[in-house]
Symmetry: C2
Subunit: 318 residues, 2 copies
């Protein structure tokens, strides 16, 4: 029924030709703005899309799952195997008196198909200099690169920067760097030092568990990196959980929380953290948000067999 | 771990107070633009968000499901029972030489929380006068009201309007109107006549099954209304299926395709059509789009037990 085209009828063909004579609109080369707002109590959250990094992966990408099982999970998500589309969405929290940005996007320093966050911040009507506070979940490049331009200039002129103390201790330590034999890890150390070393005096360290901004509480979520941190956000009677990288691509690691991707530094600990947080999110029916969930990167978690499922939030008017 | 706030530490409290002294950004009152582009062969599709109608429903909303089962389906979607959030997203097809709009949004004539389509069309850089062709799936008000303003003026000055012949025959017939005892149905008749009567000479009728624009083939999908029509879109080697109202809220009628909502005029026929199309979409792994799916209203269908599941498309840069 739907696989073949019906024959054009005479009158319609004539109408089609008349229309063809009109001017056409150009095919657009850019996506629509990636700005999605939702309210939480008196706070307003804005999901700011940064883009996607299409990263080729190999058979060792998930340490404890067979390539066949991983490929099946890709197919179930209508994705081609062998390339991981890593989506980036930063979260802006407007408390009414403060603008708090959780993680900072890639600033185009990782791949050409990401780096849209500042354009989307502008589309949201916010200038970088209006940001009061930057909260960093961990020191992987895709979360901290937005702090500086490629040329090394600070992007958020007036923002205080708060980072997890155990992240700072780990990544800013030259001894740890010298012991990192893996070239990617070595690059992460150098990148963390590029971003933070000359602004060290301006950076405040927090202990995961601390309240880090009004109504925003950091939550230890170790495993992905040594000091990886999630955040809960509270306003009025409402709360939500920003998972950071606790669970990344939902079609892989929400559905299979026990899978250990190679980008989790401590695979077993990260899986334990992931299971605990997804379990709590499902049990408490928490609104959740995660940096690598598909834009607008928010929704709820439900149990599904041995794993979980993301129920994306429905796009709403404000 | 996540249910209580940690105590504010001294230094952080001081930092918080300093930040509170800064100017704050206003809480926004409007959602970000609802414009999402995706390519299909040489064609470009643009999902244009119109908003949501929060419609109170009663226990008879699904004719053949218990209120308890319906409420459970709402809860599984993290929605409160008793109010149906009806989302509207129109689809713009740019063939490179023609701009074809499939259905026209509500133009603010149904509820205050919908009527954003023309603002989103503007955000997409398209003026109403640039639209070459309007394809109408069926004559329910939320699909045709955008053709005219409340005051009765045509919105798309240069567009040819193509409608399914059996829709025209049914809704423009005064005998059928006089036999409609249900007040909502009577209102639909009057509304169809308000929209079409004085522009009847400009409206072309097509036979469902006809090719109605270059690469766009209408597909009979009767049941929701007597002439309700879906569309397949073909460009290069790629195809997709625009379901129109064949399946509406996915958490209800994709998951339970046999359920018969009161807005389907012929419930059994609509369910048969819905099952057949979802079955084909799942079997052929078709890209699909539907007017009432949550924005951006596109994705894929997979089988899930006795029903199906929508796998929303991942938001991508272009």
């Amino acid at each position: 029924m739907m696989s073949r085209r019906a024959v054009l009828t005479g009158p319609l063909l004539a109408a089609g030709c008349a229309a063809l004579a009109r001017a056409s609109a150009p095919i657009a080369s850019t996506q629509g703005p990636g700005v999605y707002r939702y309210n939480l109590g008196d706070y307003q959250l804005t999901a700011l899309y940064d883009g996607i990094w299409n990263l080729p992966i190999d058979n060792e990408f998930v340490r404890n799952a067979s390539p066949a099982d991983v490929n099946e999970a890709f197919a179930a998500a209508f994705l081609a195997p062998g390339v991981l589309p890593i989506s980036f969405t930063a979260l802006l929290v407007n408390t009414g008196s403060k603008l708090v940005l959780i993680d900072t996007g890639t600033a185009g320093q990782i791949t050409d198909s990401a780096g849209l966050m500042n354009a989307n911040l502008a589309a949201a009507g916010v200038t970088p200099s209006a940001i009061d506070t930057i909260l960093i979940s961990h020191f992987h490049p895709d979360h901290i690169d937005g702090i500086k331009t490629k040329e090394g200039d600070k992007v958020f002129a007036n923002a205080e920067i708060l980072v997890p103390e155990p992240e700072w201790s780990f990544w800013m330590d030259n001894g740890n760097m010298s012991r990192a034999s893996d070239p990617t890890m070595h690059r992460y150390f150098l990148n963390a030092q590029r971003i933070f070393k000359d602004i060290a005096k301006e950076v405040q360290q927090f202990k995961p568990g601390d309240e880090v901004a009004p109504g925003i509480v950091s939550v230890p979520a170790f495993g992905h990196t040594p000091g990886h941190t999630a955040f809960t956000i509270h306003s009025g009677k409402q709360s939500m959980l920003a998972l950071s990288d606790t669970a990344r691509e939902p079609w892989l690691f929400v559905r299979h929380p026990e899978w250990q991707p190679s980008y989790d530094m401590d695979g077993p600990l990260a899986a334990q953290t992931r299971n605990a947080m997804l379990d709590q999110a499902a049990a408490d029916r928490l609104l959740i948000e995660a940096y690598h969930f598909p834009f607008p990167a928010c929704g709820h978690i439900v149990r599904n067999g041995a794993g979980y499922e993301l129920v994306p939030a429905m796009w709403q008017p404000l």
